[in-house]
Amino acid sequence: MSAATNDPARQAEIVKLGRLLGREPDSLRYLQGVPVGDIRALRDLTNAALFDDDGEVLKRLAAAGKLLPTGVVAAISERAFGPLLAARVAGVMEPQRAADVGRHLEPTFLADVCVQLDPRAAREIVPRMDLETVLAVTGELLDRADYVTLGRFVGAMPDNELAAILEITEDDELVRVCAVAESAEGVAQIFGMLGAKRLASLRRRARRKDLAHEAEVLSDRL
């Protein structure tokens, strides 16, 4: 196995697996030599091992939630579920209902939920959310420098939301997010929306030493 310790994509996968397992990424450093696709496959297996047994309970929770106003469901999510369980329940809810509940959540809590949300569910929910909420959560994740979570949402945004997000994202943040993005189509969508001026600015920024590894990952775009 090759030991490519500075590959941002591999490091991002280790961070995501660590979050799933409740472990610090550093405690999983022995995975640094494992190919990135294999770490992702391990994460998928782990995800199934942790949550498949509870699928029926989560579906029943989502069904019971239909009886309650979305504001009450949001309050219960924050007070009783916590971000991990809220993300799991959101994943089995009807996407429009999940988006409506999300509108009532605090951006900091919603950002915590996004850390755990299955990107497949995000692709259905995010386009149904109002722009104000999406921007608030994006801002929160950018403030935390959580590029790994933002990278999971690349490819989940419709063009109008993405355009607004690109406006609040600094060049270095955008490079870091794209370098760990899971969706190549999503990265293409982003670069397709950048004007010549922004792209030139991005390229200038990516030439700096602190983004060398990210620039290498994105070499075909930069």
Partner: protein, 77 residues
Amino acid sequence: MASHRESQAALSRLRGVLRGQPPATLSELNRQDLEDLADAVDSARRQHSEALSAALDNAFDQVPRLFRSTVRRIVTR
């Protein structure tokens, strides 16, 4: 030889907790790392199960009284 057997046993345990075949490259990890990975998955699964159970109990208390018995019936049926 004993070390190889121990690694195989650790890999087998990892397979068990994952309930599936881990990627082949993981077989190149040493026994301690494979055991650590299996421990991590096992522990996370137990913690998640306990957290779900606690969250459910807590959630029922947050549901407005009017809906509480109906919600409980749907979730615990």
